[in-house]
Amino acid sequence: MSNPHPPKWADRFLEWFCREELYNAIRGDLEEVYTRNYHIHGPKKASWLFVWHVILFFQPFASKNRLPSSLLNFTVMFKHYFKISWRNFGRNKAFSLISLIGLTTGMIALLFIGEYVRFEKSYDLFHKKSDQLYRLRAEGWHNDGRKWFQGTANFPVAGPQVYEKVPEVEAFTRLYDNGAIMSPQGEEEEKSYKEGNVSYVDSSFLTLFSFPLLSGNKQTALREPNSVIITASMAHKYFGTTEVVGKQLIKDYDKSLTITGVLEDIPENSHLYFDFLISYYTLEEARFYDNWGWTDFYTYVQLIPGADVQNLHDQFDAILHERKGQYYENVQAKEYWRLQPLDQIHLHSGFHSEAGLDAQADIIHLLIVVGLFVMILAWINFINLSTARAIERGKEVGIQKAVGATRKQMIMQFLLEAFLINGMAILCAILMVKVLSPYFSIVSGQATAVKILSQSSFWKMAVGIWIIGSLGSGFYPAFVMSSFKPISILRGKRSPKGMFSVIRKSLVVFQFAIAIAIIIGTGSIYLQIQYMRSQNLGFRMDQMYVIPGPQAFPVDSTFEQHLTRFRTDLLQNPKVIKFTSSQSVPSFGVSNWGGYIRRADQDASHAKTYSIMSMDEHFLATYELDLITGRNFSQQIVSDNKNVIINETARKQLAFDSPESAIGQMIYCPLNGSYDGTQARVIGVVKDHNHYSLKNGYNPIIYTYSPASSSFFSLLLDSNELSASTAYIQEVWQQQFGSEPMEGFFLDDQFNEAYKADLRLGRIFAVFSGIAIIIALLGLFGLSTYMIFQRSKEISIRKILGATVMNIVSILSRQYLMLVLLAGVSAIPFTYWFVQKWLEGFAFSMAIHPILFIIPILGTIGIAALAVSWQTVKTAHINPADSLRKD
């Protein structure tokens, strides 16, 4: 049956309510209309219109008389409840508004957080086979338990090996990231761009992952060497159209690639990001196929459903042992291939030095908790303000009960009130979410957040918040107020107050404890970032302009001449003070070498992991790294290509007693990338510097000498402004390195990127602490206003008896400020614990100072005093005669 069908549930609904003699005729007519709309508007709109027509028929003329009479009664009662609730809302406009504003704010926060979390958890789930896909990563451990290396990628042989030898592996693909300069062939305009998101992948890539192809065949597109698939936006960038299959792209000015497919742009919730996919067989060198130690290849495998991961790990161990068992014996360490489920990569990764990544999942949970707390604060406001008015509403309850209302009915009445005000709040919140979504999108970094209202999950959540919130916040007041006994109330006795007011006060304490805790959290985040920024990083960062070296330019004997001319020309300009070329610069990766680096007089079991980078003789001076002892590299000394300079951490890790004793010692160390047993002499020891960020500790770094490194050029300028010298630098660049685009940046911008995630967390916390404190204060304001109003007679009598305004203000304010103080004190222990936990994630963290707690608490008490005193002062100034005359 391929015929289109209108939604079944709507049909069933129609059948349920529609009179039998009309049902068949109406249903037939609607079927005709549906078929007609189906052909004109398509299935979606036709179904929608069908539902709409069914709803239109839901009228008395077409319905059976099946509604029982009690339901009719119920509707009348419902109308009555509704009217009472509505009047009540209007009678106490100020209190209702306080509840409403609080609830709305809380709901906005919760809705945004909910969507944010849902999106973060949706990463990589769009792949049809996502439950079968795993990333195969490699890690290594020394036999004594120390970490050797731990990464997310693997050797180039890993994929093919497990595919061949492990029956549970159905398919694999490798992914090797590399930058490239691309230019279109046959376009009139000559243009080329530096592209960072270029990946080499096996032909199975598109059958494992479900990235949709706009054109091209996903089975064959990546089979041939020199094939490339590009995303739609790249097709537009290079050719101005997506009809590009069969056209050519030139990679790095020499290799011609044929476009065999166009992909839709990569969805935001994918951990893989690329603009170009080049077929793996385009890589020619043997090392891309047979290397057993080069961990730069992301490897993904598809397992048969229900495969036992533990069992697979054992099989992997066997493969590795067979091949490298002897080597492991020698270095006293082992490597492992481990599976990581695809859907956990985004939130639970963090094996790499990518700082902050591993905290992702924790931050998400923290956000949910904070969002819920803010919402709970608002619900408490509603609860407190409702129960505080219990005395007033007691009479109403008494009369209702006297004329026959049951307790159940009274509970209904108060629950309805909760549903009403929560309903109004959720409507306002949805409206505000619509207005605020562009800003939210900026803060959260999720571009899709702009279309938040079109997510069905958003509406489910909104309804959920409404229902749960109404029941949660409505139940206690309903319970309290329906419990009044009509006789005692109507006789004029006060309601049983003691217990309820204790509960009310504890709720206030709870509110302020939460608000203060969030403020302290915000403060710690900002102080820690401030602390890290103000730390001496151990190197010169100001005015440092860094240019990544040319990529397509051949690094041969002429390169050194070009670089020397580039350097001399730049230094002729007075704006360029110093220049150096190096393999890495701070905040960029330095390759880690493990396995055999150790002192020459020690055996292999002492080998540890070190970072190795090459630099020219100007690096130390340009970056102002202090040489503790020994000497710098020099162009005149030929043997310097076999000498190394080490930093303090490396010196300690090599177990040299002092910097001086290290000088002249020999160590096993790879030179110029060659690994086999080369030895190097230590000629200098430099002070440590923070190469990445203060989240990480110092790395043990070994510097080797290379007079002309092509990776990074660093220019120390005479100011932090580039505008004056940019044209000049560009010109010199073009003279030496041709038309390749130059893309430089200031180092401090790059370095501060590392704090971006923390800054964002800080900003989010700042918003929430603002919201939390406002909601709590609104509640306190409402509560105190009401309570003071209740006591106006008492105050008048006190005044008559001689109390001064000051006396009265202090009597009235004291109890509320005590509550806030109590809240502050009770917030300290768990906040302290949290802040300390968070700081443990940083290698360099500030000391937790009491000020961090004292200022938020005193500040909150101060603002609370303002909120309360506005009403107390006013009341204290009232002429006693006025208030006592009232009844």
């Binding site: 009309l22 007519d29 005709e32 027509h53 028929f57």
Partner: protein, 112 residues
């Protein structure tokens, strides 16, 4: 006399049922109304009037004419009853009589 008065929409529906003699059912009436008057009405509002008119005795109905397009469901075919025809006549006569009493001067534009 009050019970026999026809509303404007009721009158239009009755007339349409007459025009569609033999094939007047919910959807065809709705379509024809739209075609004749140029205004859109929903099936439910037409049904509402049909049910009312049948109760008043101006229309009678029977089942018949199931087709594939309707998923094999029969139509409820309406036709005018004797009193339906006469109430239409009545309405028309009242109008004609009132139109006849219009002063001629309005048509000549002199009075305006």
């Amino acid at each position: 006399m009050k019970g026999t008065n026809l509303g404007e929409f009721e009158e239009l529906v009755l007339l349409t049922v007459g025009i569609l003699y033999g094939d007047a059912y919910g959807l065809s009436i709705t379509d024809e109304l739209t075609r004749q008057t140029g205004r859109k009405s929903t099936i439910s509002s037409v049904y509402k009037v049909l049910v009312r008119l049948e109760k008043k005795g101006y229309l009678s109905s029977e089942m018949g004419g199931a087709t594939e397009a309707r998923g094999g469901r029969p139509k409820r075919l309406y036709q005018l009853t004797q009193s339906g025809v006469s109430v239409l006549h009545q309405t028309r006569e009242i109008r004609n009589s009132m139109w006849g009493q219009f002063p001629k001067i309005i048509w000549e534009g002199g009075g305006l």
